[in-house]
Assembly symmetry: C2
Homo-oligomer: 509 residues x 2
Amino acid sequence: MEENNVITIYKNKAIVNFEGRDFLGQIGIDSRIFNALQGAGVSVGVISQQAIENGISVLVDEYQAETAVESLRKEFEKELKSGIVSQIYSIDNLAVIGLVTDNFQKILSELQKNKIFPLLLNQVASAGRVNLVVSDNQLDKVKNIVETEIFGKVKTVHLVLVGHGNVGSTLIEQILDSSYDIQNRKRINLKIIAIANSKNIVFNKGGFGSDWRQKVLFGSSENTLQDLFQFVKENQFENLVLVDNTASKDFVKNYPTFVENGFDIVSSNKIFNTLPIQEYRNLRKTLDKNKKRYLYETNVGAGLPLIDTIKLLHLSGENITRIKGVFSGSLSYIFNNFSVRDEKFSTIVKEAMDKGFTEPDPREDLSGNDVARKLLILARELDLINEFSDINIQNLIPENLGGIAKDEFISRLEELDAEYQFIKESQEPNHVLRYVGDLHGDLSQDKGILDVKLVSVPASSALGQLKGSDSIFEIYTESYGENPIVIMGAGAGAKVTARGVFGDILRLC
Amino acid sequence: MEENNVITIYKNKAIVNFEGRDFLGQIGIDSRIFNALQGAGVSVGVISQQAIENGISVLVDEYQAETAVESLRKEFEKELKSGIVSQIYSIDNLAVIGLVTDNFQKILSELQKNKIFPLLLNQVASAGRVNLVVSDNQLDKVKNIVETEIFGKVKTVHLVLVGHGNVGSTLIEQILDSSYDIQNRKRINLKIIAIANSKNIVFNKGGFGSDWRQKVLFGSSENTLQDLFQFVKENQFENLVLVDNTASKDFVKNYPTFVENGFDIVSSNKIFNTLPIQEYRNLRKTLDKNKKRYLYETNVGAGLPLIDTIKLLHLSGENITRIKGVFSGSLSYIFNNFSVRDEKFSTIVKEAMDKGFTEPDPREDLSGNDVARKLLILARELDLINEFSDINIQNLIPENLGGIAKDEFISRLEELDAEYQFIKESQEPNHVLRYVGDLHGDLSQDKGILDVKLVSVPASSALGQLKGSDSIFEIYTESYGENPIVIMGAGAGAKVTARGVFGDILRLC
């Protein structure tokens, strides 16, 4: 007799709650309640009575809520006075959504992810019949989610992109290029509803298209984060994802607020994961509490499946005993070339700058801080509680060149040549230089040993074989013994980083 | 007023269902129902009425069920005759579990995974109060699951291990060794409740310990799969996992039956994934329908994170354009050594046999079938619908040595020497031989090109650098261009394979 896949909606409803203890379930109480309501001419909908806990809720039309409460208060006047019935009251502005589904749990899970907790839900599971009672002002959002699940409607994921520099703009182009394919293959509509930079946030309710640059450029209004949260709330957007492609130290402080406002987070920004361990852990707790996820595969090795692999190995009880490798594309290029070519160190560094492998100020690479951050992020995946200050970093820039202006540094690059020529020539035969991150020590303890340093390795070793600007990661584990798992490939670049961020976004869908 | 974390259980309950349409919610119907029940002296518990669908269910003590049904049939005699009320009946042998939880969805999900669908569930979500009505004979199982979720009780996972050869017995030892740690770190108790070989299945309700070999050896009773399903049902075991460490062609036919009986599957056995595509897809449908998972990371590259990586890349919309590599530990060893050492081919093959790298009959490796199976499994991860017969396999054994007995083959191994010596010497300078699997062609079509063959590659290439018995996988994708993702390491051996299987088991927990 049931019609499948029909969603019925009743608006302008109210719940009347009747609370007491130790007497519900007694013979006669139910009929007193319903007789009182009948006497007052109140029509009753969903009824939910708890067998063991002590309450009964009935659904009525909003215009009858007051009558219903009054009639019950009159009927139970004595019990209210004596305290056996603790309170009788109504909650207004409600809507009921009735549906038939064989995957109630999925719907419930999607609702929870979107921070919707029905006031009352009521299911006869064997028949797949479900009633949800929600606030009127959540109705559109709930309807969208339910329709997506029941009718296989295309699921819309709403993206807020922060940062539209090299990686950010490449990502936007990749998303716009693939959106048709993804909608067809996975029935997911990726909609970019906001693009932000350090100065402004530009909204677009309908989703940005190929003219996004102009719209961002001419987005005149000055919007704040509060405006953003207001914007997504007003429009009842579901499936919210914050994508951070900045390197901002300040912006990451907003992550917990985004999570509390219903956002999952995808980030290529390494900063948050290198904050003091307390903040690192607090965000994880906030995520757990809000059932949100935070993905950052591109923090280390760009799109290489590194974080995920280490996470899975660790989770699966494999004891990881050491992680070692070349984590930086620019330093990979510099030492792969300097080791085998008969050129001055400064010449190779300038070459790397010209090819766009380094940051504008190459000292950001040569300081070792970027490699150190990546090493720390990997260590923390193993539940180690190391801090950034625990890392032994070999800074490749002598102190006297550290504090000067960028242009002066570049003009004095040749001052580095003698030292690195000496290091190169002091190696054993058939050895090459590599700038490595190395996590070792007894990793079953609270903290590991984190070294970031220039080393000389046999040219025939896996590290020694590294070419171009590739990254390499050697993961040593108990079962693999001396034979590490090796993951290698392009570990930097806007294209592979953006693709990695894109992958994380799709993992959330 | 509520006590948190208390589970209350009422047994010997019945549900009385009252079904009709188009009149429920009318004023007066509810009070007629409850007056009739009151008049018959029936005490009513959980009430679930559907606002939009057409039914009302009330919970009563089992001994009053008949009275309740009769009193309602009498009250609604006229409506039953006219068909407005379609039926009134009771379901007996029920139990109610009442609990307070803030993670109802998790409990519901765990119940569904264990194939428990409450007859009636009833929640006031805002208060976290939940009542579940289930069959009396599911009560223990439900209680275990609910306690695990609410009290953080240790979760017991029940393992049925099929095959206790090299990998199987190593796995049992690894599980027994780690069980204390895993219980402490993850609050998971891995209990091996059955161990099977081709002849028998031995049960152990309390879980096998370090004396498992004796118990399996002296397990005299002849048990069948039906006995196994009966055994897990009688004992109401939740969280069931089948672990297949055989290479049996026959046993895999039972996978769908296991899934239908509530098992997840972990398998190092490659056979199922190389069956005709229709069977391959049917199992996936059965898994979806039963919300079960099937993990087989060790099918390719033993414990290397390969299947998972390819799955994630593909899922995340990255276009994989080619997968190429050395997939076999034994053939890796043979050609890594033959290429650079001045020895006869037969000498190297015998060496590989002595070191235990090959199957007892080395033709199983040299035929290329094992590499072909792995290549097919990877292709199917990309949604390609290739069949085993589509693979171009270069069999390293000449036809006249293919059909003879194993011992004769080994005694005539030297007949291979001339051919492989010629192949080796015909290479360009600084090249080495590798036996590779290669998936290429336009992988956006239905089928790819699958080649399994001996090739000559530059000694300086990634493939050419391979050492020992390591496997290497090069994954070419759109974003990475000419620069593949490389995953390398021990791709065979009982220890790393068992650890990979163990990882899959823990992924399910």
